[in-house]
């Protein structure tokens, strides 16, 4: 191959891999850029933040140059140059400049995505990008960033690069043993180590040898020491400078070369308070320290392989359940078997959780798009909004994350467009001019709860009611309680917008949000206080791979009814069932009546509905809030089941959402409550036609 191709030639398949990796990394760099600028905007004055955004822009440029993406190189180069000014002058960009940077980040993201899609950017887009760049160059000043105006998209040696890769690096060994006074003066070794890390490549070894037995441990004392090997081009005084303020409160030895001996033992440990060693502090600082001291050690894994692993683990869970089912009933005969089985099931659960954990992602990947979205809506509405994001590290399964983007985008749009008032209205209401939007995620009772809260005007119940009456969602004289009025906004077709805006109010309303949330097996609720704001809460399952369901038996078949749709189980008898017409029955539940349906007949397991005089029924609710009671033969118990697609080998079956495999190896079908209720409405005519065909 080397004979046929010039030196440096890369085979196309290898190149495709490199390109893919570049764009994947680009996304990470873009996220870093945005989060860095947002941190700076929030008042973070850590030079490392500036460095990190600079590095991100630099990496994008480097990769783009390798791929020959000229437009991208040009833009990222100017971006980097503008940043270099702040990096070298150790100043921080003002809020206005940060706004420009954030806008430019959005533009850079567009450019990256356009390049990835292989699209040529239109002149309009390029012009927009250029204007932003001109803005960047103007605000940062041209004198300090010598290459800011260069039109050349090629690599110019930015000064800082030499600083990074200066030739005369030298190893230093630093032994650092803080005394208790250091902590007492509210100094923190982590901050010092981070500062030190900035000087160059660093290896840190924590010496815990001075920690006494637990019984002798004095919580007030300082026991830890660090041995650091630092590769830097800087002088000894620069290294010592880091410890300038704590020099008197620690044992510090700085010498050239790599350490051969361990740290000298503490001379005289004196009892003093050691606030920085409190567990709370440690847990807070640990991730920051890790992030500062080492590269994140991650491994990119093909999703297909991961899904295969998850499938295999699902098999394992089923096999384990099967084993438990066939276990000898007489445990006294073989007690070891039961014990081994318990171990196995514990291990299986652990493996399942770990594997699901791999698939889990922080909601950050959805949340990180929100600042940009908010900026764009701000621009379109003329409102200003302070966005607060909480709990972005909350882990959720990938499949849930994927389904979350659209509803969340819609909710944020709604919150700013409809929720938060205009500047004038806010002034009149004595509210701060800037609206506030808080988006948070947290784990609660085995589900993830995402809240979108605004401090706007809240839901105008009179207005909602009037619209609902106008749109025939409720009758004019209907008595609807306060919270139920709020819930009317989830009705199909409901919209409060008097006029259609660019953003929302195209008749695609909260009903779409509710439907997509329900498609994820989630629920949405709203709480609102007039004048104080509205909070939407989404409650979602952590994964779509397993489902909590009620196992029931119908005509000898096992069926799983998703718990998300199940309200309660009801006993029925002639006391609470009323026949209406030739076929229909109503079940009275606490004063209200719901249709009682023979599930076996609805699914076609028996030719016609034959409700026995008494039995048991499941009260279920569909997405639109309609309720029916499904009569079943028996309830076998609550179960967590692994969802298996029916459609892989079969076509879609009406009334069935998916299948699962029970411990006895048999397939059980998972009921699609919505479809069952819809098919019930179509009526008996279709049933008869189907029966005739069969």
């Amino acid at each position: 191959m080397s004979a046929e191709h010039p030196e440096g030639w890369i085979p196309p398949d290898v190149m495709a891999g490199i390109t893919q990796q570049f764009f994947e990394e680009c996304e990470e760099h873009l996220a870093l850029l945005e989060s860095g600028f947002l941190r700076l905007e929030a008042g973070d004055h850590d030079p490392e933040t500036v460095n990190s955004v600079f590095r991100a822009a630099h990496s994008i440029k480097g990769g783009a140059a390798m791929l020959g993406a000229t437009a991208l190189v040009g833009f990222s180069h100017r971006f980097e140059s503008a940043l270099a000014h702040f990096r070298t002058s150790k100043t921080f960009p003002s809020h206005d400049v940060l706004k420009v940077f954030l806008k430019a980040t959005d533009q850079l993201a567009d450019l990256v995505r356009a390049t990835r899609a292989g699209k040529e950017l239109t002149d309009e887009q390029l012009n927009a990008a250029s204007r932003e760049l001109a803005g960047l160059a103007d605000t940062t000043g041209t004198d300090t960033s010598p290459v800011a105006h260069t039109e050349e998209p090629a690599f110019s040696p930015v000064r800082v690069e030499f600083e990074d890769f200066a030739p005369a690096e030298q190893p230093w060994t630093i032994d650092f043993r803080p005394h208790a006074e250091l902590y007492a003066k509210a100094n923190d070794p982590i901050v010092l180590l981070r500062e030190l890390k900035r000087l160059g490549e660093m290896d840190t070894v924590l010496d815990t040898s001075a920690i006494p037995l637990l019984s002798d441990l004095n919580l007030e004392d300082a026991y830890l020491a660090w041995s650091i090997t630092l590769h830097t081009a800087r002088t000894e005084s620069a290294v010592r400078e880091v410890f300038e303020f704590v020099e008197r409160d620690c044992d510090l030895h700085v010498r050239a070369g790599i350490a051969e001996t361990a740290i000298p033992p503490a001379a005289d440990p004196r009892p003093v308070p050691a606030p920085a060693l409190r567990p709370g502090d440690a847990s807070q600082d640990a991730p920051a320290l890790r992030a500062a001291l080492q590269q994140p050690s991650t491994l990119r894994v093909d999703l297909e392989r991961l899904d295969r692993l998850i499938n295999l683990v699902s098999e394992l869970v089923i096999s384990e359940a099967a084993l438990a089912e066939y276990a000898p009933k007489d445990s006294a005969q073989n007690p070891n078997f039961g014990e081994a089985l318990d171990d196995l099931s514990q291990l299986t659960r652990d493996i399942q959780e770990s594997v699901m954990g791999i698939r889990a992602q922080p909601v950050k990947s959805v949340f990180q798009r929100l600042p940009r979205l908010v900026r764009e809506i701000e621009k379109a509405t003329g409102k200003t909004v302070r966005l607060t994001i909480e709990g972005e590290d909350t882990q959720v399964d990938r499949s849930v994350i994927e389904g979350l983007t659209d509803p969340l985008t819609h909710m944020v749009r709604n919150a700013i467009d409809h929720g938060i008032e205009t500047y004038e209205q806010r002034q009149k209401a004595n509210k701060p001019a800037q609206g506030s939007l808080r988006i948070s995620a947290a784990h609660r009772a085995g589900r993830v709860v995402i809240e979108v809260a605004d401090d706007g005007g809240g839901i105008d119940r009179d207005c909602v009611r009037a619209i609902a009456v106008k749109q025939n969602l409720i009758s004019a004289d209907a008595i609807v309680a306060g919270e139920d009025i709020d819930n009317l906004i989830f009705e199909p077709g409901f919209t409060t917008a008097d006029k259609v805006t660019d953003l929302s109010g195209r008749g695609v309303g909260m009903d779409v949000v509710r439907r997509s949330v329900q498609a994820l097996g989630g629920r949405i609720s709203v709480s609102s206080r007039r004048g104080a704001g509205t909070t939407f809460a989404l409650s979602l399952p952590l994964t779509l791979a397993v489902l909590d369901g009620m196992l029931v038996s119908v005509c000898g078949q096992s069926l799983v009814v998703p718990l998300a749709a199940l309200l309660e189980t009801v006993q029925f008898s002639c006391d609470n069932v009323h026949k209406v017409g030739p076929n229909a029955s109503l079940l009275a539940i606490r004063g209200s009546h719901v249709p009682l349906i023979d599930l076996g007949a609805t699914l076609g397991y028996k030719p016609q509905s034959q409700l026995s005089a008494d039995g048991i029924a499941l009260l279920v609710e569909d997405d639109a809030g309609r309720r029916v009671a499904l009569a079943v033969d028996d309830i076998l118990g609550q179960k967590q089941v692994v969802i298996k697609s029916l459609e892989i080998n079969c076509h879609r079956i009406a009334g069935i959402a998916a299948a699962t495999i029970l411990g006895n190896g048999l397939v059980a079908l998972i009921l699609d409550v919505n479809a069952v209720m819809a098919s019930q409405k179509i009526g008996l005519a279709q049933d008869e036609r189907l029966m005739a065909h069969a």
Binding site: N311, S314, E315, I318, Q557, S558, T602, L603, G604, Y605, K644, S645, L646, I648, N649, C650, H651, R652, I653, A654, G655, I656, A659, I661, G665, L666, V667, A668, L669, D687, L690, H693, A694
Partner: protein, 159 residues
Amino acid sequence: MRDAAARNQAQETQERRDFLVFRVGAQEFCVDVLAVKEVRGWTPTTSLPKVPSFLRGVTNLRGTVLPIVDLGDRLQIACDTAIEDRIVVVVWIDRKLLGLLVDAVCDIVTAGDKNLQAMPDLTGEPIHTSVTSLITVDGRVIGLVALDQILADTRSQNA
């Protein structure tokens, strides 16, 4: 003529295919062995709601949900084996798996184009849509099951 026949023969030896022959009632049918994933014994199935009766249900094939077609019911031939003694021939149809429930698996026959002929027009017979060719080998007449037609009716019904 002789030359042409010889040429045909040469081509045929190259294009000969193997077919897995199974029995439904007293009649023999077959599928291309390359479409066969495996042959297994009968396991209880879970019925699907509102599907034609020949779609007997689904069963667990090592974690995959496998639909089972009762070929006797599909072709309207009475099976003569007790249900638990029947055989499931698991076949690939496009990229989906399907289990064919048959009375017994007989053998594998090798046939070339000259053994293959189109099914005479039997419009109106239940077999018409799902068996479209015949293979004649050693005096046996074996129906070649058109796998892509087996589920055709159910799909249109549910669409």
